[in-house]
């Protein structure tokens, strides 16, 4: 069964460093998302991406964040200068339309 895959599964980085989280969405999907979940909290929307551009973003998704679909298969989330409060599980999701989203296993980001 097709699935969304994310790498790495766990990333530890020092505060102020840049990180890139990678995702391979399901191949025929057109809508791509990033969500995050801080430990013990709700899953929160970060950004949606369609037709090679951001279609919607949350207040969390500030200038430190960017997304890219560099080669037609990968979908990346970059955090330019990580802060301690960026520590969370980051989930990539994709969908053929906007009604459904299929999530990856997540990348646990730990900022020290």
């Amino acid at each position: 069964e097709p699935e969304v895959t994310q790498t790495p599964s766990h990333q530890v980085t020092q505060m102020g460093q840049e990180v890139i989280l990678r995702c391979v969405p399901i191949s025929n999907h057109l809508y791509f998302y990033w969500y995050r979940q801080i430990l013990g909290q709700k899953v929160e929307f970060l950004v949606s991406f369609y037709n090679n551009e951001i279609s919607e973003k949350s207040e969390i998704f500030d200038d430190q964040f960017s997304v890219e679909r560099p080669d037609g298969s990968n979908f990346t989330l970059k955090i330019r200068s990580t802060k301690l409060e960026d520590s969370a599980m980051y989930f990539c999701a994709s969908g053929s339309g906007t009604l459904e989203a299929f999530f990856g296993q997540g990348t646990r980001l730990t900022v020290v």
Binding site: V43, S48, E56, F91, F102, F103, Q105
Partner: protein
């Protein structure tokens, strides 16, 4: 932001019993999705309900979307230990590009 409240937060039952989890909002959603999440993993989509009053069944799980599309319920019949997990509801916000608003989840524990 359209908020979703889930109740109860925690539910512990014996194998063979029935249970119902609720997801409520004061806002209307375009659709509502139910997910199940295991510790350290991504949410796994169980079902999407779109039409007010819609009922969907997935084996022993019955999902209902309220007539006004503001609330939903998940009913499990004859629960089994394998049903143990965190159940999340997520509403698709109106006029959004796939932005899901998640509830905090209901932790279900089914003991043999």
């Amino acid at each position: 932001t359209q908020l979703l409240e889930q109740s109860p937060q925690f539910l512990s039952i014996q194998e063979g019993e029935n249970l119902t989890v609720y997801c409520n909002s004061s806002s209307v959603f375009s659709s509502l999705q139910w997910y199940r999440q295991e510790p350290g993993e991504g949410p796994v989509l169980l079902v999407t309900v779109v039409t007010g009053g819609e009922v969907k069944k997935l084996k022993r799980l019955t999902f209902q979307f309220g007539d006004a599309r503001k609330d939903s319920s998940l009913h499990i019949t004859a629960a089994q230990p394998g049903d143990t997990g965190l159940y999340l509801c997520a509403g698709l916000q109106t006029d959004s590009w796939g932005k899901l608003q998640f509830g905090a989840g209901t932790q279900v524990v089914v003991t043999p």
